[in-house]
Amino acid sequence: MNLDSVIFIISAAVTLFGAVMMIMQRNPVASVLYFILSLVAQAVLYVQLGALFVGAVLIIVYSGAILVLFLFVIMLLNLRGDEDLGAPSSPVSQLTKYVVSIGIIAEFAFVIWSTGFSSSIPTGIIAGASENFGSTEQVARLLFGRYLYPFELTSILLLAAIVGAVVIARKENGDEIESKAAAKTAADEVTG
């Protein structure tokens, strides 16, 4: 077992552990913290695949901006673990919940099955890739060349969401809510 496999196994295990713990927690802050743990381990996986840029952006955008905002909102609402977070859900939404999750699991299983496992764990994905696969330059070329149109459309979608958030916040009338919207803009600027 070489060092690569060791790092892969550790970070994959941490990713899954974080993800499972995130949905198992009653305390919302603990959930966010496990989510961060999972994301950082995921970033390690990306870095190991040579996608340094994607790994860095994952941390900058998700851990650094979006999850800070999650924490921020949880803090402002002062949610604690022992509080009941709403009425029990209806049978319809219970059913939908299970159908959707089983569907997603089946989809993932199918995709993984159809690609087929290669014997070596991490290198199998790198082997076929070109020299500067995942480099900042290559991602930028794709993003601002081939995928420019979808990229710009996504930014317009995000912009619409920001405007919507500001409009909703204005109605409630509160200074903190405004600063939340400002902070959301900050997060999206980092993304954009």
Binding site: L33, F53, S63, V68, L71, A182
Partner: protein, 332 residues
């Protein structure tokens, strides 16, 4: 990856942590001494010659203080917060080139790079690690179960998110000029002559950087998070003993980190004549630390709404303007 690589890297990391922790301790001495002279006092002068042993005495005192954990705290998060605020500050130094190739006075078998890891996306690494720095303050504020801590935590997280935008955008200017994200390459591009330093090519970017860096590290005049007249001590109100001192150390480690980034990006890193590179690096960082302390002694604290307005309505557009200007000049 040979055994030699592991040993050399380990030695570099160990040296860096040792130097960094000592530097943090002596930054407090430097701050107290310089503040004292700026205010016509003498500052610490009893422990050792010129009070040089004062940081040691302070450290010992803090270790022997009682570690009080108030009743209403969320214990795990409360214990986690000081560590979380400390680690990102240390991590930044993993990509900062502190010297040219060196062999530690012949102790190492072959010359090694003067950086722990020369990442090809070093600048992005700095962004990523800086963006994690806010968690320590947020978690400390939230887990303390005290209103002053909570208010301090919310304030500082809003402040840090706002100023991170300007901070990142001001660095983008440098990246545009240098055409690389690797810090080692950025330093080597600035070597040769004084006028290769990027501060001359990015004066506006540097000014935005320095303002945002001070706000990022929650230092005066942007130390709203611990405004003692309003919030007792902000997010670390409920902390005592070693946990308190970890926040203290991380504040200084953060100051050193943003100074090191500024030196690397705008002031030619370790480049300089006559003296060995590492000395130039340290001298430049010390100059930055002096500016930090000088600012603290000179400016009164901002009001909170002024701080937010300044960040979003002045610095953010300026930083965008700087990027557009730089990009236009690069194309011409």
């Amino acid at each position: 990856m040979s055994l030699e690589f592991f040993i050399v890297t380990f030695v570099k990391i160990a040296l860096l942590i040792f130097v960094l922790l000592t530097a943090c301790a002596y930054s407090t001495y430097m701050e107290r001494k310089i503040l004292a002279y700026l205010q016509n006092r003498v500052g610490p002068s009893y422990a050792g010659p010129f009070g040089l042993l004062q940081p040691l005495a302070d450290g010992l005192k803090l270790i022997f203080k009682e570690d009080i954990v108030p009743d209403r705290v969320e214990r795990i998060t409360f214990a986690l917060a000081p560590v979380v605020s400390f680690i990102p500050a240390m991590l930044i130094f993993a990509v900062i080139p502190f010297s040219s190739e060196f062999d530690l006075f012949g102790l190492l078998p072959s010359p090694t790079e003067g950086v722990i890891s020369d990442l090809s996306v070093g600048v992005l690494f700095i962004f990523a690690v800086t963006s994690l720095g806010v968690y320590g303050l947020v978690l400390a504020g939230w887990s303390s179960g005290s209103k002053y801590s909570l208010l301090g935590g919310i304030r500082s997280s809003a402040q840090m998110i706002s100023y991170e935008v300007g901070y990142a955008l001001s660095i983008v200017g440098v990246v545009l000029v240098a055409n690389t994200l690797s810090l080692t390459e950025i330093v080597s591009l600035q070597s040769g002559s004084l006028f290769n330093w990027y501060i001359f090519k990015q004066p506006l970017g540097f000014m935005i950087y320095i303002v945002c860096a001070i706000a990022e590290t929650n230092r005066a005049p942007f130390d709203l998070a611990e405004a003692e007249s309003e919030l007792v001590a902000g997010y670390h109100t409920e902390y005592s003993s070693m946990r308190f001192s970890m926040f203290f150390i991380s504040e200084y480690a953060n100051m050193l980190a943003v100074s090191a980034v500024a030196v690397t990006l705008f002031f030619g890193g370790w480049a300089g004549p006559f003296l060995p590179p590492i000395f130039w690096f340290l001298i430049k960082i010390l100059a930055f630390m002096f500016v930090y302390i000088w600012l603290r002694a000179t400016f009164p604290r901002f009001r909170y709404d002024q701080l937010m307005d300044f960040g979003w309505k002045v610095l953010f557009p300026l930083a965008l303007f700087n990027i557009m200007l730089t990009a236009a000049l690069e194309i011409l």
